[in-house]
């Protein structure tokens, strides 16, 4: 396995990373063990609920609840800084006026051509 080559479109899996096995510091090992303990705890909770014969309802996932809540409620944490106001103006205010002017001038020019009788109605599909 020392000469493992990843598939062209995949990242190297964590379990095949040589840095995981050689020259490990104790801090790294402790960190990995803490993460594995958290993961194992979550797995255990899930499996207890999944295999509970008296369970009649769905298993709710608190991580999903938090994610949905966070995505649906950004406004309490919103502040009007330079960047956010600039983004808001660029996407919300500027296109309004810009497209109004573009369309109005184009339509007025076209109307003027029609009134003068100079409008060229070509048969080509592209313009």
């Amino acid at each position: 396995m020392a000469d493992y080559q990843e598939a062209p479109l995949a990242t190297r899996p964590k379990t095949l990373d040589p840095n995981e096995y050689f020259n490990l510091s104790p801090e790294y090992r402790r960190a990995e063990e803490a993460r594995a303990a958290l993961r194992a705890n979550l797995k255990r909770q899930y499996q207890m609920q999944l295999n509970n014969p008296h369970r009649k309802e769905l298993i709710e996932d608190p991580a999903l609840t938090r994610w949905v809540y966070a995505r649906a409620n950004p406004y309490p944490h919103f502040r009007a800084t330079n960047k956010t106001s600039l983004l808001g103006a660029m996407f919300g205010v500027f296109p309004l006026f810009f497209f109004y002017y573009v369309f109005k001038t184009d339509r007025d020019r076209r109307e003027q051509h029609i009134k003068d009788g100079t409008l060229e109605r070509k048969f080509s599909l592209s313009s």
């Binding site: 909770q45 298993i59 996932d61 608190p62």
Partner: protein
């Protein structure tokens, strides 16, 4: 979530006791399920808040890193690496296998973008710059050549059609008694 709430309501009603109905109307429910403290909150400023937030999201305190507080609406949601679900191990027994995610694992902010039907952040055979240059170079070159072709059309030389019999003088309704000089449409 709504299903659980509905069942609780139906169970409270179907208990048939006075306490069931009054419990429904007074809003008193069992103290289980998510509480307010479990939901995402404001950006954590003190280390205790950070530790509490890391515990809430089931992450280590060292791993927990909230989005920088620029008022963009993230709150204390953790900043996870921007990797799509394509990159996760396909052979491990994930809890919902199509999402390649375990129950209770913190979800990336853009999770619905990184699912396996959508954006893929796997490494590419060539570097991104090389791919961009090749694609846009080709498209730009073709557009330029088509533009030149429009500007300078090149085709076989053409001329107006030449008709015999003095340019069809009689057929076009000319006077048959009139003598005309010969019209020559050629040169030898």
């Amino acid at each position: 979530m709504a299903v659980v709430g509905f069942r609780r309501w139906a169970r409270a009603l179907s208990k048939g006791q006075g306490s069931g109905i009054s419990a429904l109307f007074s809003g008193a429910r069992a103290a289980s399920g998510t509480s307010k403290a479990d939901l995402p909150g404001a950006y954590p400023k003190t280390p205790e808040e950070r530790a509490a937030a890391a515990k809430k999201y089931n992450m280590r305190v060292e791993d927990y890193e909230p989005y920088p507080d620029k008022g963009e609406g993230y709150g204390d949601y953790p900043k996870l690496p921007d990797r799509s679900q394509h990159e996760r191990a396909p052979w491990y027994q994930w809890d919902p296998p199509d999402l390649r995610r375990n129950w209770g694992e913190p979800i990336h902010w853009d999770f619905d973008m990184y699912i396996r039907n959508r954006v893929d952040t796997s490494p590419t055979p060539l570097s991104w710059n090389s791919m961009c240059k090749q694609l846009f170079g080709f498209i730009g070159f073709m557009l330029f050549m088509f533009y030149l072709g429009e500007k300078f059309p090149c085709y076989q030389p053409v001329a107006p059609k030449q008709y015999p019999y003095n340019n069809l003088y009689l057929e076009k309704g000319g006077d048959p008694n009139k003598e005309l000089e010969e019209v020559k449409n050629y040169e030898i």
